[in-house]
Symmetry: C2
Subunit: 413 residues, 2 copies
């Protein structure tokens, strides 16, 4: 996001000379609201990794375990919020890039529904890509601060007056619900990659606390996750990575390991015909319909799910983002909160039964075999809370109620 | 739009056997609200003409002059509302298909902002096409009925519960404004096709009445209309007409004259690479930004413009839709109201000066040379009122105030 008079390189070497005379829209709105900017944080090359790492700034570390990644692509923003170096940060999210760093680094992050917060005036490989929209949202240490940020930004900032692509939709005041009035569907496994022991434990403990508080819990096996994952990957790259190649080749900078990985999503360098891009959109709309019908017909208010199949990974060893990207293709507002659970090497081990498990894919094997209990000590477990599309306010309000139930106060960490 | 148990062919011969067991979403919502359905009206082959005409039902006529077209693509719906054969009708609009028939046939029509009204469960060549979204909206004989329809459909129908692609955005109550508080920008010429004498006269008379009522009038030369027109045409066909060809070739039906015309929009049969489709979207977003900035910075509330460069044309002789499609690519809510002016062959003649005019394009020449005063007798002139994106409610409220000023009551026709 352009910050006037300063370099905005977006992780690309070719943009090291990009200094604009004006702020990007969101920075301008925040400046108008009295924000005090004091640091720009790290992000990965191409923005398409749940990790940091670029040829300008290198890697950022996890504040809970310096051997682990802070996640990405809002890499440093998750970390700096998590360790209390910043009151509120701003990130972007097209596959999990707000939620993964929030989850990994012990902070709170909201991926709002699309077109409520402006991304205008930023370096992006996704210009004109609307099959799976990138969104901007806040990273904080409390859900109240998410609410404060969204309220002030939208209702006072009136972003639709500054960005002609946004929706005119004020931020509604929604009261914190009574847990006993909530029905929450829980995803324990997305059918693609099994979660590691600390995530499983955090889900179990969270569900038990919610149930004890009166929440109605429904077990939910999310449908068509493989189709969703394959489709969203094709959407990311269906311009044959045209824009990424423009941004990368302008300098000739070396590609990082995870850039090579992500440039091969979908069909890599194949520039799809528009007719096939439309078919992908049609598949996406069918998925949105299927999930909407599930939520409405079953009177489910929210979905609770892992943010990733593991706690914070090692840098350059995060390959799967099926748990987060599902909510990008569905465009459901999704809040990451902290479960209060931290990885404990004495407890969070694969069981005997786990070790007999038959992997469903090489991706799952790669991810699961990366988990060794003694390598992730102290990593926090964040979870996702998703609601219906454009019911962002309800998600934030319920997030407050759930944090109360869990008794997790990040200001005390 | 599918009507359960009945044929829904959408103007395509290949769909003559399409009978679904369920209503399309909008028909279901209207049924739930107590609507009495009694007739399905005519539409053109491919839906891409501002005219009727297909191989199943032929042409529908203009209720004010049977030698003229009722417009299209919501062809019969404009006519039946205009002559009082229906209380409220429903149409769709991707280039002017609600507004042209409303304007030509003496009725009122609203093209809402996108994703407020459901198009799910309809025959469409545009599945997955989101560069320039098709929208659904009402055709009526009064602006109050537009308000009634939108209010009931959205607030009671809750369409976002039935269609996962829609926005959760209730219909707001907005009071009819005082004309003296309004600033309206007037487009008298879009830089592409000069308007014919009756349209010019209607604009002049309308502006004078509004000015007399205290409205602040600003002359507005809309920027980049050629770019907008070329871009929107490429967007319509950038799948190389893949879906249209699927729907048409399945029966081998003959193509009508205007189908051949519209299949050649943009680059016709060329299936654009996704990277080029994204560039078109990027151009579109730039246009939206430019018009938003104009409206906001100049404190302009609404734009008044012709709905077409002429009154209702002869069937198969409507080639230009630059005046309506501009608001499709901009996605601005646009209401067609009646000026109260009807073509008068004794008054609405080209002047001596008009006859010296140098055409700016073959399209303009084709359209302007089609105007002969004695061939359009009694045709009504409808005008467009556009507002800011997702300020549909304000457009409808202002439409009521303007109709009051003009003193046009269609129930008395």
């Amino acid at each position: 996001m352009n910050y006037k008079g300063r370099i905005t390189h977006g992780g690309y070497v070719s943009k090291l000379d990009n200094v604009t005379p004006e702020h990007g829209v969101t920075n301008q709105i925040l400046a108008n609201l009295g924000a005090v900017f004091y640091v720009r944080t790290n992000q990965p090359q191409t923005l398409m990794h749940l990790d940091s790492g670029n040829n300008v700034n290198g890697f950022s570390k996890n504040p809970f375990n310096l051997l682990l990644s802070s996640g990405g692509s809002s890499s440093g923003e998750g970390a700096i919020s998590g360790f209390g170096g910043s009151a509120i940060g701003v990130g972007s999210d097209i596959g999990g890039s707000i939620r993964a760093p929030a989850a990994y680094s012990g902070s709170i992050g909201l991926r709002p529904s699309s077109k409520r917060i402006s991304g205008l005036g930023a370096i992006s490989s996704g210009a004109g890509q609307e099959s799976v929209p990138a969104v901007i949202g806040p990273l904080t240490r409390s859900v109240d601060d998410v609410d404060l940020w969204m309220d002030a930004y939208i209702n006072e900032g009136k972003p639709w007056e500054l960005d002609g692509t946004l929706i005119h939709m004020p931020w509604r005041k929604v009261d914190k619900p009574n847990p006993a009035d909530l029905t929450i569907a829980v995803i324990r496994d997305d059918g693609l990659v099994r979660v590691s022991p600390p995530v499983r434990r955090a889900l179990n403990e969270t569900v038990e606390k919610l149930r004890a508080a009166g929440v109605k819990i429904v077990e939910f096996t999310p449908p068509n996750t493989k189709l969703a994952y394959e489709t969203v990957h094709k959407m990311y790259t269906c311009d044959g990575n045209y824009m990424q190649r423009e941004l990368l080749s302008a300098s000739g900078e070396p590609l990082t390991k995870l850039t090579k990985w992500s440039l091969n999503y979908g069909e890599g360098a194949r520039d799809f015909p528009a007719s096939e891009n439309r078919k992908l959109n049609y598949i996406r709309d069918g998925l949105r319909q299927e999930y909407t019908e599930y939520l409405v017909k079953n009177k489910v208010d929210f979905i609770l799910s892992p943010a990733y199949n593991n706690v914070a990974p090692h840098s350059e060893e995060v390959y799967n983002w099926s748990y987060t990207s599902l909510f990008n293709i569905l465009d459901l507002p999704t809040l990451v909160i902290q479960s209060g659970v931290f990885q404990d090497p004495n407890v969070d081990k694969w069981t005997e039964e786990d070790l007999k498990y038959k992997y469903r894919s090489p991706l799952e094997q790669l991810e699961n075999e990366n988990y060794h209990p003694d390598e992730f000590i102290g990593a926090p477990v964040g979870l996702q809370l998703s609601g219906r599309r454009y019911f962002d306010e309800e998600v934030v309000a319920a997030g407050k109620a759930i944090v109360d139930v869990l008794g997790v106060d990040l200001f005390k960490h």
